[in-house]
């Protein structure tokens, strides 16, 4: 088991299947893609089962110096394990979601998705700086094709915007990586995570990484590519974009910005906090007035990702664990919500919210699932997002009361726009003949949504399964970044002496109330 190159195999299986798909008929390409993604899911389960919680920091390590300047170095820690699990879990669902809705150029479509899977797993498993960059950046190509070929009416604009926006963000990161590799004399990510760069250089490096990750995340104000890309992408494309590709930004902060550049992270926390707070409030308000379902969910993704960034930069255990849980939870929930949109889009071919209504009457099973995912997105206790959001905001509160306060309004606004969406779609009178004629979930659709629903509840009820693998890694990260933690404004302050307390009791109560 120790020497079995399971990570390489997880990369090779979809890669070979992608190549083979191109030479198959439509039906066989679908079957092969499903089979390959299921094999990868099983391998992912093996990976999780074989992962020793509390064992060495890097497990399943593979190393082959085949590229001269950099190496084929793979290995995972708890963070990478969970994100790889998210990817391999969502992939078969994406293939299933495209089973009937994609009818043109099926082999290419399946190949593009399998190629995306290779790159996602590769990004999370890479232990070499440049191998990471190659995987990270290569993801643009299949996504560009998926949006551009199988997307909606305005797909070409969206595909360009997606590609060029994210490329511009990433190229500066490459320069930073070149500097780091030359300065530290190694391209190994674990080695770089222990290397101390001079503080002056850190600020520049941090900003270069930030340019890339902030766009991927996406953070306000560089989020504008996301609504366009989501709206135009086919359903499965949106699922994978929201489910996994947005997590690359958060993973980047976790893997590069924080451990490699702790001083700069500490100094620039205010920037992350400020942008995130604006993002939470602004994009939630924008989501409130959307008339297009996918756009609404896309804006809600920006708001949720902002909770991730504040959690990461809270520099404490709750914050980081919460951020990871939000990433996982959001990956599942927003993916599921896009699937829900896809289900009714396949029937009525419109994403206009106003065209729907009363689906609770005509499609009760659908309405049930949609309700569950809506509630999960709002962060109802018992669902995945509650755990993450609570932890992330608790962690943030320890660092900055104001930011925690501002971001918590996002939860309220989130409830507002999601419930408003649900009311317009599911409740009320049945809007039209067409809506009345819509059939309920088919068994295929049920099979896509049910597994996500189970995991969403699992994460909400027993989050320990997901917190355990990363617990030790969070401790390692905290030990590394603790020295650079920015000052906290939520520390207990010494109280007034007892004698004076009685006299100023009234006054003290008033001050407390003002806080």
């Amino acid at each position: 088991m120790e020497n079995f190159p399971i990570l390489s195999i997880m990369l090779v299986v979809p890669a070979l299947a992608a190549a083979a798909c191109l030479f198959l008929s439509d039906e066989n390409a679908r079957r092969l893609a499903l089979a390959a993604t299921l094999v990868d899911f099983v391998l992912g389960c093996v990976l999780w089962a074989g992962y020793q919680i509390g064992g060495p920091q890097w497990q399943f390590v593979e190393y082959a110096p085949v590229f001269g300047r950099f190496a084929w170095a793979l290995g995972i820690d708890g963070f990478a394990l969970l994100l790889i699990m998210l990817s391999v879990f969502l992939m078969p669902i994406c293939i299933g979601a495209s089973w009937r809705s994609i009818t043109t150029r099926v082999p290419e479509y399946m190949a593009a998705f399998l190629f995306t899977e290779v790159l996602m797993i590769g990004t999370f498993a890479a232990q070499d700086l440049f191998l990471f960059y190659v995987f990270f950046e290569a993801g643009l190509i299949p996504m560009y094709l998926i949006i551009g070929i199988w997307g909606g009416a305005n797909r070409i604009y969206a595909s360009y915007k997606f590609f060029l926006y994210t490329l511009l963000g990433s190229v500066l990161m490459l320069i930073a990586m070149l500097y780091m590799a030359n300065k530290a004399g190694t391209t190994s990510i674990p080695a770089l995570m222990a290397y101390d760069f001079p503080p002056q250089a850190q600020t520049w490096l941090w900003l270069a990484f930030f340019a890339s990750f902030a766009v991927k995340m996406p953070m306000w104000p560089v989020h504008t590519w996301l609504p366009d890309a989501h709206v135009q992408a086919p359903t499965a494309g949106s699922v994978i974009l929201a489910g996994v590709l947005l997590k690359l930004g958060g993973y980047g902060f976790l893997r590069f910005s924080l451990p490699m550049l702790p001083e700069a992270s500490g100094q620039l926390t205010w920037l992350v906090f400020a942008l995130s707070a604006v993002a939470v409030i602004y994009t939630s308000l924008v989501a409130l007035v959307q008339s297009d379902m996918k756009k609404l969910i896309a804006y809600s993704s920006v708001a949720h990702m902002a909770i991730v960034t504040i959690g990461l930069f809270a520099f404490n255990r709750q914050g980081i664990e919460g951020a990871m849980m939000v990433m996982l939870g959001h990956g599942l929930v927003s993916g599921a919500l896009f699937l829900c949109v896809g289900v009714i889009y396949d029937r009525l071919h419109t994403r206009e919210i106003s065209r729907y209504g009363g689906l609770a009457i005509t499609m009760p099973r659908y309405a049930l699932f949609f309700l569950l995912f809506t509630m999960a997105s709002v962060g109802l206790p018992g669902t995945s997002n509650f755990v993450g959001e609570l932890l992330a905001l608790m962690g943030t509160y320890e660092r900055s009361t104001l930011i925690a306060l501002l971001c918590t309004t996002g939860i309220i606004l989130g409830a507002a726009y999601m419930l408003y969406l649900y009311r317009r779609i599911a409740f009320g009178e049945v809007k039209s003949e067409e809506v009345a004629a819509m059939p309920d979930l088919s068994s295929r659709e049920l099979w896509l949504l049910a597994p996500i629903a189970v995991v969403v509840l699992w994460m909400g009820v027993y989050p320990e399964s997901f917190l355990a693998p990363m617990r030790k890694d969070v401790a390692v990260l905290l030990a590394r970044i603790d020295r650079a933690a920015p000052p906290s404004d939520s520390q207990p302050t010494p109280g007034k002496p007892i004698a004076a307390a009685a006299a100023t009791l009234h006054h003290a109560a008033a001050t407390e109330g003002a806080h």
């Binding site: 085949v66 590229f67 190659v134 094709l145 595909s159 590609f163 190229v171 320069i175």
Partner: protein
């Protein structure tokens, strides 16, 4: 040193020169029927020249009292030049046969051989006059090649434009050479290097003559490289010249010119690095930006590739601007990958023709190519993403090598601006992919029976695919050894 030893070091040029003369005689007496035989023989002559590189020609050192240098750097560049020239000969017959009225003549391979001989002298030159002789031999052959389709007015125009502007460039270069000779008293690179080292390049005592000489020489070389601001001839010549000739211009002479510029910069003027670095940085950034911006509006695929070549020269110059062994090795890595991508793209362009067999060049005719010719479209998409420098394609490694050198040399602003400007370039490469993959199909190109061209396309596509990354260790060893020869 004995004459035989000198000749052994110049063996590749001898093979090419004698081969070209012999084949010219065959062509003169054999006439039109000998075209095929002469073409095949020319490819063998080029292969022979490659073989002749083994031995003293790649490691002999200085020949003819320092006029000529046979080192690893020259050998590396020559291999690239010979391979690109051979491909230019191989891709020609099919194109000319399909173009009405202008059959391929046996002079075509002969001119390419002469040009290759000149390019070999360029990259081996260790003296300003050897340099000039090589450059003119290459250029004169190239002028004729540009106007090879006599009945085509665009081709004739391309030849004339190339000639007039090339002559102007040669004039500027010669003026620079004369200034340098006047102020240093020698044309040998070693002597010039000594003079530059002995003369302060800034402050009161600086030598304006040497400085001006340097500026004029670099301006002349920039003309040959088609680097901005001396790039104006490129789009017209590339568009007008027959496609195989354009492919030739975009590959082999670029390697020769950049090899020449590198040798002059490092060997002759290495001690004035700070002076020429400003020129090279400006030319690099201007080429990257202008090559990218001007390409956006193009509708002709050959013109677009012309701007792409300007853009790519800019990236290669980023490596030269470092003035370090890593920089030179980056330039060589860049050129290897660049010529494969370029030749591959032009081979695809050769497959573009309407149902009567006439070549078409508009980008719009590529519409929906992914449905009509999936393999061809995939190959061109690979070349385009690779030219844009997107990993996991090999074009990324080319950019990686030069920017790595720039970062090592501490040129952070150059690296940051250059790589940010590469995003502009990505736009027009993407436009070709968009046309092929997103648009509705245009009339399909008829299938070609030419197995050789198809094979070359496949080979190039595999080279720039992620499989190419496995070549990085070997490429690293070769380019490093070649770069060391200059320092």
């Amino acid at each position: 040193m004995s004459y035989a030893a000198n000749l052994a070091m110049t063996l590749p040029e001898l093979v090419l020169g004698l081969g070209a003369i012999a084949l010219m005689l065959v062509a003169a007496w054999g006439g039109q029927q000998s075209t095929r035989a002469v073409s095949i023989a020319s490819v063998f002559v080029l292969a022979g020249a490659c073989v002749a590189l083994a031995g003293p020609a790649s490691s002999g050192g200085a020949a003819f009292d320092g006029l000529y240098r046979a080192d690893a750097f020259a050998a590396f560049a020559k291999v690239l030049i010979y391979v690109a020239s051979a491909v230019a000969i191989i891709m020609a017959p099919d194109f000319f046969r399909r173009t009405a009225g202008d059959d391929l003549k046996p002079e075509y391979p002969v001119l390419i051989l002469l040009s290759a001989c000149g390019m070999g002298i360029m990259v081996s030159a260790a003296d300003l006059l050897t340099l000039y002789v090589g450059l003119e031999l290459q250029s004169l052959a190239a002028y004729v090649l540009a106007s090879f389709m006599r009945r085509d007015t665009r081709s004739a125009e391309a030849g004339l434009k190339y000639f007039v502007l090339g002559a102007l460039a040669s004039g500027i270069l010669l003026y620079g050479i004369s200034l340098v000779y006047g102020f240093t008293g020698t044309t040998l690179f070693d002597g010039i290097a000594g003079a530059y080292a002995a003369t302060p390049m800034s402050g009161e005592a600086k030598s304006l003559g040497l400085l001006f000489g340097l500026v004029f020489i670099f301006a002349g070389l920039a003309f040959k490289l088609a680097a901005v601001p001396f790039h104006m001839w490129t789009p017209d010549v590339y568009q007008g010249a027959p496609t195989p000739v354009t492919a030739f211009f975009a590959s082999a002479p670029k390697v020769a010119a950049i090899g020449l510029a590198t040798r002059v910069a490092i060997e002759a003027m290495g001690s004035a690095t700070d002076q020429w670095r400003q020129i090279v940085i400006f030319a690099a950034l201007a080429s990257i930006v202008l090559g990218a911006v001007a390409a956006i509006g193009q509708s002709n695929v050959k013109r677009l590739l012309a701007y792409s070549s300007i853009n790519n020269v800019g990236f290669a110059l980023v490596g030269l601007a470092c003035g370090t062994p890593e920089g030179v090795s980056g330039v060589l890595t860049y050129m290897v990958i660049y010529i494969v991508m370029t030749l591959g793209s032009f081979l695809v362009v050769l497959q573009m023709r309407d149902e009567t067999g006439e070549p078409v060049e508009s980008i719009a005719s590529l519409s929906g190519l992914s449905r009509t010719r999936p393999g061809l479209a995939a190959a061109l998409a690979i070349f385009m993403f690779s030219l844009a420098g997107i990993p996991p394609l090999f074009g990324f490694w080319a950019k990686f090598a030069v920017f790595d050198a720039a970062v090592k040399a501490g040129l952070f602003p150059l690296a940051a601006v250059g790589i940010a400007a590469s995003v502009i370039g990505a736009y027009y490469y993407l436009r070709i992919v968009k046309t092929m993959y997103f648009d509705d199909p245009a009339p399909a190109f008829p299938r070609s029976e030419n197995k050789v061209e198809g094979g070359l396309i496949a080979l190039s596509a595999v080279f720039v695919s992620p499989l190419g990354y496995l070549l990085i260790p070997a490429l690293g060893v070769w380019t490093t050894a070649a770069a060391k020869a200059l320092f």
